[in-house]
Amino acid sequence: MRKVVGLIAFLILLGFLVWGVLLIHPFGYPSPAYMDDYIIENAQEETGNNNVVASVVFDYRGFDTLGEATILFTAVTGVLLVLRTLKRKEDGS
């Protein structure tokens, strides 16, 4: 019974995935291209960066980079917290 339910769920999910892949625009033709063109044309005079990728990462999409830095901070905090707690528990027992 569980296997049948799992198989049905898997088939439904697979159908959704295939449906999504079939709806993608053809390769090499991104449908909304006006944002790319705007950034490529105006990034150098607006942000002064010669590297347009850096201007996108740190200026146009800076909020995304802030989230990335937060993820790194959380990961470091978690690793230090877990390792320290385990060490202390070993000492205590």
């Binding site: 942000t47 002064g48 960066n49 010669n50 850096a54 200026d59 802030l66 470091v76 690793v79 230090l80």
Partner: protein, 153 residues
Amino acid sequence: MLSKMVRTVANQLIVFIVIFGLYVIAHGQVTPGGGFQGGAVIVSGVVMLLVAFNSKELKKSLRERTLSIMESTGALIFAALAFAGIGTAFFYNLLVGTPIFGHVPPTGANPGDIWTGGVVPLMNLAVGIKVVAGLSAVVLAMALFSSGEEVEE
């Protein structure tokens, strides 16, 4: 601790690795790369030292507390630079046109024009400090834990 040959080569090589990492961080607004990538390069050098020497030896020079302070400082500088342009918008590049990193290049390729970018070079530096300290702390803590040493607070 590995053999003397490995330790000597690692001692010589760490200088070049750190210099290359600093180059990638400092030229983030000109060439491909930036804070995250250059920081990862420097941390790979730290991992090399960790393999060549053992973690107990490396703990003497890289203190966990210093690394934590460095990481928090980098994060605070990054957030402060983001909030500095809050008068116009969050993450507004307010240094473009000013004497500090403010030279606006003409459209097209400008090799060697590094005095550009507004707040982007400073953000690269802050993120670089943060990545170096954070990943070094993670690697060092894992090595100390697996070798049974006490993690210093």
